[in-house]
């Protein structure tokens, strides 16, 4: 049923190669609804609820956040369209932080563990989540994947979300920073086409800056649009391939991680 938007029905999520049936039927409220009954509408009794449909995920995300903070980890949720350069960006971030911060990665993909293999080949501790038909990572998947990494020997945990600019916006994973990537080969108006995700970002990174001229990238228009949609976000421009602009980003992470240790 519903294969194209799927999101769980019949789909199996695999974490670190192990299959887990993905639980999407949320049962058991925990008694924090406040029923007020009245008669109305369809001839029955109306019970008022006022509950978020994402409350289970939000609760698990807060648990993750508390757990990660206790471990003094800086946690990033990296989101972008497919092909914006998430894996190369994360690999170079981890490699160039060697000697300053220890980085581990949780990678989410619909299928294949190619991205995890690329990171693992670079010597980075990595756990793969294969979501099947699910279009985003959720807090429960991240909790299960995090249990498979030795967090006590890490300073930064990077979560590479499924390539998608819609669904990940709704799912808090327990991260400290939501990092959205915009590559110069995408349209400059992407921040305006997907405003909820860009607006929710703490950091916006323009990637593949080495290809800007070839792609005919209108830098000032892209930055203008980013500032409109993500005006709270810290903006970086870089090329993970050439290293151009990486220093400012890495220094920012070191500074944020140190600030978090004081929490």
């Amino acid at each position: 049923m519903c294969k194209e938007c799927g999101c769980g029905l019949g789909g199996d999520v695999r974490i670190g190669g192990e299959a887990h049936a993905h639980e999407h039927v949320y049962g058991h409220g925990h008694g924090h609804d406040h029923p007020h009954e009245s008669h109305s509408g369809h001839g029955g009794q109306t019970v008022t609820l006022q509950r978020s449909l994402l409350e289970k995920n939000d609760r698990l995300a807060e648990q993750n956040r508390g757990f990660f903070r206790a471990k003094k980890l800086l946690v990033l949720n990296v989101v972008s369209s497919p092909g914006s350069g998430k894996t190369t960006f994360i690999r170079e971030t981890a490699a160039q932080l060697t000697g300053r911060l220890r980085v581990g990665v949780i990678v989410g993909d619909l299928a294949t563990d190619n991205d995890a293999a690329r990171l693992r080949a670079a010597g980075i501790p990595v756990v793969q989540i294969t979501t099947g038909t699910v279009c985003h990572l959720d807090a429960e998947m991240v909790a299960r994947a995090a249990a498979q990494i030795d967090l006590d020997h890490l300073d930064v945990l990077v979560i590479e979300n499924v390539g998608n600019l819609v669904c990940p916006a709704d799912y808090d994973l327990g991260e400290d920073l939501r990092v959205v990537l915009l590559s110069v080969t995408e349209g400059e108006d992407k921040p305006l086409k997907y405003p909820p995700l860009f607006h929710s970002a703490n950091v916006a990174v323009v990637t593949k800056s080495d290809m800007a001229a070839a792609a005919g990238f209108d830098r000032s228009l892209a930055l203008f649009n980013l500032q409109r949609a993500s005006h709270h976000a810290r903006i970086f421009e870089l090329s993970a391939k050439t290293g151009d602009g990486m220093k400012a980003w890495l220094d920012y992470l070191v500074e944020r991680q140190a600030a978090g240790r004081g929490k």
Partner: protein
């Protein structure tokens, strides 16, 4: 794109509410859906019919209240409604408003027999 799982959550809460109140039938489910919530109302409606099948909510009505995008203007120190998002405060044209409404995905009430 994740309307089915969102709706499973809503129907599950509705059925659980009915059971706790000693009812075996849900007549209506009422939601608040923000225009920037990332879900498509038509897809929610389709998912609702599918997810309700075989549950005490089968045949029930789905009522959705769409919540427009609203913000807080730091200059005017007041709420405003976005003509489009992202966009500016209609009074002072300040572009850096803070999004306050429009991301809702809530179940507000359930009607039971």
């Amino acid at each position: 794109m994740h309307e089915v799982s969102i709706m499973e959550s809503a129907v599950s809460m509705a059925v659980e509410t009915a059971r706790k109140s000693g009812s075996d039938r849900v007549l209506a489910v009422r939601l608040r859906v923000g225009v920037l919530s990332g879900v498509v109302p038509e897809a929610l409606r389709f998912a609702f019919d599918v997810v309700c099948q075989g549950t005490p909510a089968e045949g029930s009505a789905l009522e959705m209240e769409l919540v427009p995008a609203g913000g807080w203007c730091p200059v005017c120190q007041a709420d405003f409604e976005y003509a489009e998002f992202p966009g500016e405060c209609p009074r002072c044209h300040e572009p850096n408003g803070e999004l306050r409404r429009g991301r809702e995905l809530e179940i507000t009430s359930v009607e039971i027999s």
